[in-house]
Subunit: 357 residues, 2 copies
């Protein structure tokens, strides 16, 4: 049996599937999960697909104390023909290994990881919902499992993949959201872990989101941690602005997560001959554009919501209402095109789609 042979234990007590017309995000999980172990002696070994079940972990496992962990998020889509397909899974696995390197976690075999995900999807294929806007969210993650108190990399890990049938991330769908610019708290700083998809980044962001939420904002827009001047990203989205017919987005600077959707948006805009610039953008600059009537659209990009138009941006005491609080033409075209490619209704010029068997 090769190290790449995935053993399979079937779930003999499959769950009832939730109503796919009213799917919340991230609350239901499928019948099976993928697990693989890591030890210093054996490397990554014992890949297996087993019934979805609780993890049995020592309370001293390093994940609980020192947070050595990374994760990914991608989706499987049901096409009109009933097939199941993935969107750029290679990009997610590349990023998973980039995150691993930053967090001192041993890298995984990217191709094998994609195979494992396909295998798991094949087994739980009935869980891929077909109602409009729904999909099966895929959550690969790695946790440090060695029971040890002391700050150093763990000697043992588990790589796990779980699946969750999901509706739209924002209950309001493609409707524009209100976002508050965060001036107190910092998400990430150069030399920190902002580029990695690791748990601590999200834990540190909760307090700011809680404040924003109370004031009626869906998310916060993070500024750079050094000067609190330059725009970075939204909670779980990268961010774009259309200014005078040109689209601008913060350049990858070491503290921003490199979104797969961000990369796809940039490629698509170039394909459409719409000028797009990756560069530093200060809130002052953005505000000037706004005052001059040049800020035409704003939107976030991410796997969960794909494109999320921003209807209002609150900054100090300014309430910047963008495009009358409505979804802009570019935001809408990007949303239609990207989701169209994902669900197989629109031509895929870049071969982004990967079919699951």
């Amino acid at each position: 049996m090769s190290e790449y042979t995935i053993t399979f234990i079937k779930n003999e007590q499959p769950k009832e599937k939730p109503d796919s017309d009213h799917l919340p995000f991230g609350k239901f999980f499928t019948d099976h999960m993928f697990i693989q172990d890591y030890s210093e002696e054996k490397g990554w070994h014992n890949p297996r697909i087993v019934p979805y079940q609780p993890l049995v972990i020592d309370p001293a496992a390093m994940i609980f104390h020192y947070g050595q962990t990374i994760f990914e998020g991608l989706k499987a889509y049901r096409t009109a023909e009933g097939n199941v397909q993935l969107f750029r899974p290679d990009k997610n696995m590349e990023r998973l290994n980039r995150s691993n390197r930053r967090m001192c976690i041993p890298e995984v075999d990217e191709e094998f990881a994609i195979d494992a995900i396909k295998h798991l999807l094949h087994i739980d294929q009935e869980w891929v919902p077909s109602a409009p806007g729904t999909s099966l969210y895929i959550r690969p993650f790695i946790i440090a499992t060695e029971p040890f108190l002391g700050v150093r990399p763990s000697k043992n890990y588990q790589f796990i993949v779980i699946l969750s049938p999901v509706g739209a991330y924002y209950e309001s769908g493609i409707n524009p959201v209100k976002i508050a610019v965060e001036n107190n708290y910092v998400r990430a700083v150069k030399g920190g872990t902002g580029e990695a998809k690791t748990a601590g980044n999200y834990a540190s962001s909760l307090i700011a989101q809680e404040v924003a939420d109370k004031e009626g904002y869906a998310q916060v827009l993070w500024l750079d941690g050094l000067e609190k001047k330059y725009i970075e990203e939204v909670g779980s989205m990268n961010v774009f602005f259309k200014v005078n017919g040109k689209v601008i987005t913060p350049a990858l600077n070491g503290s921003i997560l490199e979104g797969v959707t961000r990369n796809s948006v940039i490629q698509m805009l170039k394909h459409w001959d719409i000028p797009v610039e990756e560069r530093k953008i200060s809130m002052e600059e953005l505000y000037d554009h706004y005052i001059n009537g040049e800020l035409e659209e704003a939107f976030g990009s991410g796997t969960a919501a794909v494109i999320s138009p921003i209807g209002e941006l609150a900054w100090n005491n300014e309430h910047m209402i963008i495009n009358d609080g409505k979804t802009g033409a570019i935001s809408s075209k990007l949303y239609q095109t990207l989701t169209g490619i994902q669900y197989g209704t629109v031509k895929d010029p870049f071969n982004w789609v990967v079919k699951v068997k």
Copy 2:
């Protein structure tokens, strides 16, 4: 039964205790653990002491994905008379709740938490070792347990306390350590989570420590995340310098962990009429003092090692050898006094010691 009644399930298969003359740090755990649950409806409830055992946690539990967690670290000491005592546990519980507030975790009842720890220590009292320099390390921690994918505070938590008999943190004991000043990576920044004792801070620090370790340094000295100019702290210690007869330490600035040992060192120095200043200290300033022959001692302070003299500080290409690489008089006196108080052999002028039972 009140919410404060701790139920107890005895471990009928106690483990063999490790040889207390060769105790590693954080590798052995006692026969019992404390657990308490939190839900929105019930608050903190069902406190219990049970046999030490693996946690059974859903793979979607938010701790694994978004890192909402905090921890503490303190010790129980065996006195010459055979009693067991704690050192300033109130300070640790205060800090636990400060960390909770930053991480959006519901606060615990500090007095009850100390009672629970005492109760657990009473049950596992035979695990408190008596060989010189040994103690029972106490690790309270809280983890987010709700199975949910999506970035918001969890609705469920577990508060857990585990115990580990430990020897000295540094195998070399009170011998001076070599520390490297970190110029690339950042541990924490104002507005981030540096003040909280939360897993992500430690995960983000691993990569720098790995580099330092390869070059023969025990730990890194972190500089401020903004300018990389001002001294913050060492991996799991606060840091002090004796310059021209005066002791200086970085002021608490929002990104430094407020150490219980740090606070005790400052009080003790004042008690001894040794001038001590909490303020910004740049590496340039420190280097100037060094060149002028004014840098007399350097040491770290933390629960694990108590006082850890710094014999060498590497900064860029400079190797600053401090006090000929030997333990200084103040470092030594602080170590003797603080450990003396902890083990009950030295008078406790501030009533820091809390007896168990």
